[in-house]
């Protein structure tokens, strides 16, 4: 007999036990490896999606709310010697079948022949009115090749939409297109510059055609680059960017004998103005404004342009008027005239102001006083032939316009009628878009080329909002560092893994104990402990190996099941049906290897403990419990962990009113440890020296429990941990719609959350506007500005660095939502008002959803997020508060004033919150949708939006519960194994009981109670600890915890355990084994 033969014979002989052991190892291998495969597969899928949405694109140049010339692409391409494609990316709404199918927020992409080059795709060129659309859009719109669809595109406006005097009419351009191609994901159907795994709805048009319907020429807003030379791009851009790309127009003014620079954006960017004002150019800044009335005494002249001038030495309150105006007002030098004008606040809130001026001089309408070039190019104003056709962003009272005003317009158009000092003009009319409309350079020697080159070389395009984004690296990084599903599923499968390891240890311990007399025999026969350990360990490892191999096969199946679920019933957490399985040998090796090591360790520990017994004890099968820990040390640990748990609970209550959920979970876990240690201590066999007056069943049961203390403890631990995890999870499960209309809930008490494709430029709460817009229901609309960024909500699996920024009015949020964490300064009646605080240069307080801060960004309250603002300056958003589970997942909230200071070009509001009577929710929704139809309003009920986010968490909890439930089944198998082994080991004991008159029912009762107590103790400890861990859910009325769910879970756990206990015991006692056990012949 060789060692090999002995091992093989032993494995064969105890094949049933070994099969169970292998099964335990197989389950742990499957869970571990399965989780790793899921992680690999999600990562692989995200990386694949990056390639699908970007192709070969490595960098993107864009500009904040700014359009530049398509020619820049060619210039840059030559400079960097790499493909550069121009892209005009606009937003729109698509519909088909007469409006039956509608999709808001589609991407309208104007591309040229460079696009397939830079993306590595095979997109075909399109003619006018032809479109290529993504497959998902075709499916949603139910259109096929050659079908027609209607898109309404957000109008391309070089002028920021909220610029004073710019009309907000005609913000949408409708166009009917013929579908000439449906793009698969692999052929740029998923093209998207945002870091998200969900597919956008795309419509590709020819760039030329898109420009044509937008009434623009060669305008784009993105450059797509495929180049590995990252560092060369930004300097190259600075060299090739032209004044035209900065929306500047340079013309020589013959009247003034000077170069005049104006902007397509009406107001000249401050950066440009400041650069050109300085030496050596020393440009003169001119600000021309449209005033409502110029009046003197009883006379008034309506709607006139007034310009600043440096041509006459004027005091700040002095004015020069032309003779036409002087005659009209019958005013003379020295008289005081009043200028009435509008200042335009956010959302076009108009305030009419008045300023008096003393007439310094009356000038003739000639030469520099009759310069038409001073009138800014305002669409709807400067380009119409008569005053009655004016279409401005301010109300025009046409009745005030007289015949002579029309005659003036016919003769001189918008030639300013009055001139004031530039300083005064700037003080009165400066706005966030700029403080000059013309820059005048009086240097006749300067050539146009020189001036253009000087501007190009001295103005950094980054300061104008140009951004170079190494989009490929960022996307790869976001995908690689996205939600780690390996960790996630290891976490979610934690209990399942723990249970299977417990089961392995338990089964091996039971097996070795059954055979422990063999160890004694082998020792007596002269085998060293080392040799015995080798034999048993080899046997154990062989079984583990078989189990691990089976586990790897199971892991592939487990992964398959998980992926099917993720692509279907659990799709809430991945939001894409395109996940692909990625199985690598390395992952299988790691999973299998770790599992074998874990099970071998478990086996070795059990074996070591066993071999510490003396040979005599082993042969007589009497185990002595070694006391590794002294009682004092164990008691100290019990007390300490219990005390810390309690102290943390009290501290948490006093400091945060139970807001810190993580800390409470730690308290619960510590209490669990303390109670389990207490049970471990209680289960130690004690020498009872008392003369019992009677022997009660309870004492008998206690003797049995303490006799097999390790097994009893393992079973109790397993059920305690199972209950702790399952109840904690169940209690955190969110009721998706409960109390959703409360102000302190995640909806803030708002009825709707709306996203407009076309920003709303007006204040929808103004009675007049409401009347004109047909908004009759009683409700309030909170309008929020948006600086777009990546979605940092739990719906995005990628790791995000720059979430979108929302500009809010803190007063609108007073008393709404609930903070889960906040800095100390945020205390007070209205913590939202802290957003208006000044925290120093370029530091702005910000609030975000706690889940965005913690999980989306990997930060904490007090940390800072860095952005580049519109002027290219670093903007630090200091996170001062974290909201509890709100509708604002995905974005960061700052004060609207701060927002406008840093993103002045932002026009209107894209996000609308509706506050009204919940009973009228439906009619409010219908009215708003109807009224804002042209804005492509996507109106979602706020509770539903919150429910969408909560459903992600609930899905995770569901997975956790399901996998926890599987773990519980494994745990129950452990209990069943312990019970079966107990019964087998105690056959003679049961025989004696029967022989001395115990009825079967009594024995059943004893055995059942014995194991029921284990079950009850385990569940009890788990329940108490889990209640502590989830105290906020029990104490806070706004967080629903369902006692019924808990009761059902507890009943299921106990019922499941009891079923096994009763069934196995009953089945055992029904057999004849008991009598057989007592046979001696």
């Amino acid at each position: 007999m060789t060692s090999r033969q002995l091992i093989i014979q032993t494995i064969k002989h105890y094949w049933r036990q070994n099969l169970m052991l292998a099964l335990g190892v197989a389950v742990s291998t499957a869970v571990l490896t399965g989780a790793l495969i899921v992680g690999d597969s999600v990562r692989h899928s995200l990386e694949r999606i990056v390639h699908l949405r970007l192709g070969e694109i490595t960098h993107v140049i864009s500009a904040v709310d700014r359009y530049f010339s398509a020619g820049l692409a060619l210039r840059l391409e030559k400079k960097i010697n790499a493909p550069v494609a121009p892209l005009l990316l606009l937003e729109g709404m698509a519909s088909s079948d007469g409006g039956k199918y509608q999709i808001p927020r589609v991407q309208v992409l104007g591309i040229d022949e460079k696009f397939p080059v830079v993306t590595g795709s095979t997109i075909l060129a399109m003619q006018h009115s032809e479109a290529l659309i993504s497959r998902n859009l075709a499916e949603r719109l139910n259109v096929d090749l050659n079908d027609q669809l209607l898109i309404r595109i957000k109008k391309l406006s070089v002028i920021p939409l909220n610029t004073p005097f710019v009309s907000d009419a005609n913000l949408i351009t409708p166009v009917t297109l013929t579908v000439t191609g449906i793009l698969a994901d692999e052929n740029m159907g998923r093209f998207d510059l945002k870091n998200i795994q969900t597919a956008p709805y795309n419509i590709f048009l020819s760039l030329e055609f898109l420009n044509e319907i937008m009434d623009a020429h060669g305008k784009i807003n993105h450059l797509l680059i495929a180049s590995k030379a990252s560092s060369e791009i930004e300097p190259a851009l600075a060299q090739v960017v032209s004044p035209e790309d900065m929306n500047l127009k340079i013309e020589f003014n013959e009247v003034q004998s000077s170069w005049e620079i104006t902007s397509d954006r009406v107001f000249i960017d401050r950066v440009i103005q400041q650069t050109l004002e300085s030496e050596p150019i020393s440009a003169e800044s001119i600000l021309t404004y449209f005033v409502n009335t110029i009046s003197f005494a009883e006379r008034e002249t309506p709607y006139s342009f007034v310009s600043s001038t440096a041509g006459a030495a004027l005091q700040s309150n002095e004015i020069v008027i032309n003779d036409w105006l002087a005659e009209d007002l019958a005013a003379s030098q020295g008289d005081t005239v009043n200028l009435d004008y509008f200042t335009i606040g956010p959302l076009r809130q108009l305030e009419e102001r008045s300023h008096p001026f003393v007439i310094k001089e009356i000038v003739p309408m000639s030469e520099k006083w009759a310069d038409k070039a001073l009138m800014p190019q305002l669409p709807g104003l400067s380009d119409v032939s008569n005053c009655r056709d004016w279409e401005t962003g301010i109300p025009i009272n046409l009745e005030k316009i007289r015949a002579k005003d029309e005659q003036y317009w016919d003769a001189y158009q918008g030639v300013p009628k009055a001139f004031i000092p530039y300083g005064t003009a700037r003080n009165l009319w400066t706005n966030r878009f700029g403080e000059s409309t013309t820059l005048r350079i009086s240097d006749p020697d300067l050539s146009l080329t020189e001036l253009e080159e000087w501007i190009s070389s001295h103005i950094d395009p980054m300061q104008l909002g140009f951004r170079l984004n190494d989009i490929r690296d960022q996307a790869d990084l976001a995908a690689k560092n996205g939600v780690d599903f390996s960790q996630l599923f290891l976490g979610l499968s934690f209990f399942l893994l723990l249970s299977s390891i417990f089961l392995t240890v338990l089964l091996f311990t039971l097996n070795t104990r059954t055979r422990m007399s063999q160890v004694g025999t082998l020792s007596f026969l002269g085998l060293t402990h080392r040799k015995i350990k080798f034999l048993w360990l080899t046997e154990g490892m062989l079984i583990s190996l078989v189990g691990a191999i089976a586990g790897l096969l199971l892991a592939i199946g487990y992964n398959h099941v998980i992926f099917n679920a993720l692509n279907s019933i659990w799709s809430d957490i991945v939001r894409t049906p395109t996940l692909e399985t990625e199985i690598t040998l390395a992952t299988l090796a790691i999973g299998g290897g770790i599992s074998i090591v874990l099970s071998s360790l478990a086996i070795m520990v059990s074996l070591n403990r066993l071999l510490k017994q003396s040979s005599h004890h082993l042969q007589t099968r009497t185990i002595t419990q070694s006391k590794r820990w002294g009682n004092a040390a164990k008691n100290a640990l019990i007390f300490l962990s219990g005390f810390i748990a309690l102290a943390l609970v009290v501290w948490n209550y006093l400091q945060t009113s139970f807001q810190n959920a993580s800390l409470l979970f730690i308290s619960g876990a510590l209490l669990l440890i303390s109670l389990l240690l207490f049970v471990h201590q209680t289960f130690q066999p004690v020498q009872d020296r008392q003369d019992l007056s009677s022997f009660r069943p309870q004492i008998f049961i206690l003797r049995n429990l303490t006799h097999n203390s390790r097994q009893s403890f393992l079973v109790v631990s397993m059920f305690a941990i199972a209950t702790f995890i399952i109840i904690s999870t169940g209690a955190h499960r969110k009721d998706l719609f409960s109390q959703a209309h409360e102000k302190n809930s995640g909806t803030g008490g708002f009825l709707y959350y709306g996203e407009a494709t076309i920003p709303v430029l007006i204040d929808l709460n103004e009675p007049e506007i409401r009347f004109l817009s047909g908004l009759e229901e009683e409700y309030r609309i909170v309008q929020i500005r948006e600086y777009p960024g990546d979605d940092a909500s739990c719906l995005n699996l990628n790791r995000i660095r720059s979430p979108g920024i929302l500009g809010i009015d803190p007063d609108d949020f007073s008393g709404r939502f609930r903070f889960i964490s906040k800095i100390r300064d945020l205390a007070g009646e209205n913590p939202w008002s802290y957003l208006q605080s000044d925290l120093g240069k370029d530091v702005i307080p910000a609030i975000a959803d706690q889940s965005v801060i913690q999980w989306g960004l990997g930060l904490k309250v007090g940390d800072t997020l860095q952005y580049l603002d519109e002027q290219g300056e670093i903007l630090n958003l200091k996170l001062v508060g974290g909201l509890a589970n709100s509708i604002f997942q995905g974005d960061v909230l700052i004060d609207a004033q701060h927002f406008l200071r840093h993103f002045p070009s932002s026009s209107g509001s894209n996000i609308l919150l509706v506050d009204g009577d919940p009973n009228a929710q439906q009619s409010i929704g219908e009215e708003l949708k109807g009224s804002l139809r042209n804005h492509g309003l996507d109106l979602q009920s706020a509770p539903e939006r919150l429910a969408t986010f909560n459903s992600v968490e609930n899905t995770y909890l569901s997975i956790f519960l399901i996998l926890g439930g599987l773990g519980l089944i494994i745990g129950t198998l452990g209990l069943a194994a312990v019970l079966a082994r107990n019964l087998l080991n105690r056959r003679k004991e049961l025989g004696i009981m029967q022989a001395t008159g115990f009825t079967r029912a009594f024995i059943l009762n004893l055995i059942t109670r014995e194991h029921f107590y284990l079950l009850l103790i385990g569940v009890g400890i788990g329940l108490i600890s889990s209640i502590v861990a989830t105290l906020p859910s029990w104490l806070n009325p706004s967080l629903e915890v369902s006692p019924l769910t808990i009761l059902i879970l507890i009943t299921l756990i106990i019922g499941n355990g009891m079923l096994w206990i009763t069934w196995i015991t009953n089945r055992f006692l029904k057999g004849e084994q008991v009598v057989g056990a007592l046979r001696s012949d």
């Binding site: 007589t620 009497t622 066999p685 020498q687 009872d688 020296r689 003369d691 019992l692 007056s693 009677s694 022997f695 009660r696 069943p697 004492i699 008998f700 003797r703 049995n704 303490t706 006799h707 003679k988 004991e989 025989g991 004696i992 009981m993 029967q994 022989a995 001395t996 008159g997 115990f998 009825t999 079967r1000 009594f1002 004893l1006 009598v1075 007592l1078 046979r1079 001696s1080 012949d1081």
Partner: protein, 233 residues
């Protein structure tokens, strides 16, 4: 008659096929207070017979009459009660529970007793028996800490604690050395005589068997009167 076995037959089957007939129309009559030894070769069915007498097993044919009552008519509850009140078992191994002390082991048969008065009497009897058997001082020790003889004496006390009228002993000295074997035999017959407990004992030990009032040889499924000094197999 205290105990009467009438035409007892017991056969063992495997999947419906007869493997072996162990007892064949066996009859036995035992008076109250008698001591009976049953000897026989290994596998002759001694333990089976003892289990049938102790109602742990049922015969295929025949009747077991205890004080002229047919125990085969008892239901499970009555059988358990019968064993509890009337029968004490002693086996070759002591089968003491390692998790319990000696005293607790002795009290195990009192666990299902509901009559508190009777339970107290049993406990008192247990204490007396412990003292009588000389293991009173060891009562707080666990079986693992005691000798085989002490454990077997404890097993006898356990069998007697409920004051049974019939003591069934299956190779009671089989696992003991000579000295302990003699001591245990002394104890069993002393109890048989002093407490008038009927003793039926299965043994290979001829000298032990010879101390009984009656000796039977179990052979070919039948009990035959036997002289104590005759060879058994």
């Amino acid at each position: 008659m205290f105990l009467r076995l009438k035409q007892i037959s017991k056969s063992f089957f495997s999947k419906g096929v007869l493997i072996r007939e162990v007892l064949s129309k066996l009859s036995l009559e035992v008076e109250e207070g008698e001591s009976v030894s049953i000897v026989g070769p290994s596998g002759s069915g001694k333990t089976t017979l003892l289990n049938i007498i102790g109602t742990l097993d049922q015969p295929n044919e025949g009747q077991v009459l205890y004080k002229e009552k047919d125990v085969s008519l008892f239901n499970n509850q009555q059988l358990a009660s019968f064993r509890s009140r009337q029968i004490g078992f002693v086996f070759q191994q002591h089968y003491l529970l390692p998790q319990c002390t000696l005293w607790e082991n002795i009290l195990v048969p009192t666990l299902p007793l509901k009559d508190r008065g009777w339970k107290n009497q049993c406990i008192q009897r247990g204490q007396e028996l412990l003292k009588r058997t000389g293991i009173w001082e060891q009562r707080h020790q666990k079986p693992g800490e005691l000798s085989g003889g002490e454990c077997q004496r404890a097993a006898v006390v356990r069998a007697l604690i409920n004051a049974p009228s019939l003591l069934l002993a299956d190779e009671p000295t089989g696992a003991l050395d000579q000295k302990n074997s003699d001591n245990l035999a002394e104890l069993l017959f002393e109890i048989n005589q002093s407490d008038r407990v009927t003793l039926i004992m299965v043994t290979h030990n001829t000298s032990l068997a010879a101390r009984a009032n009656k000796i039977f040889l179990l052979e070919e499924g039948q009990l035959k009167p036997h002289r104590g000094n005759s060879p058994l197999s």
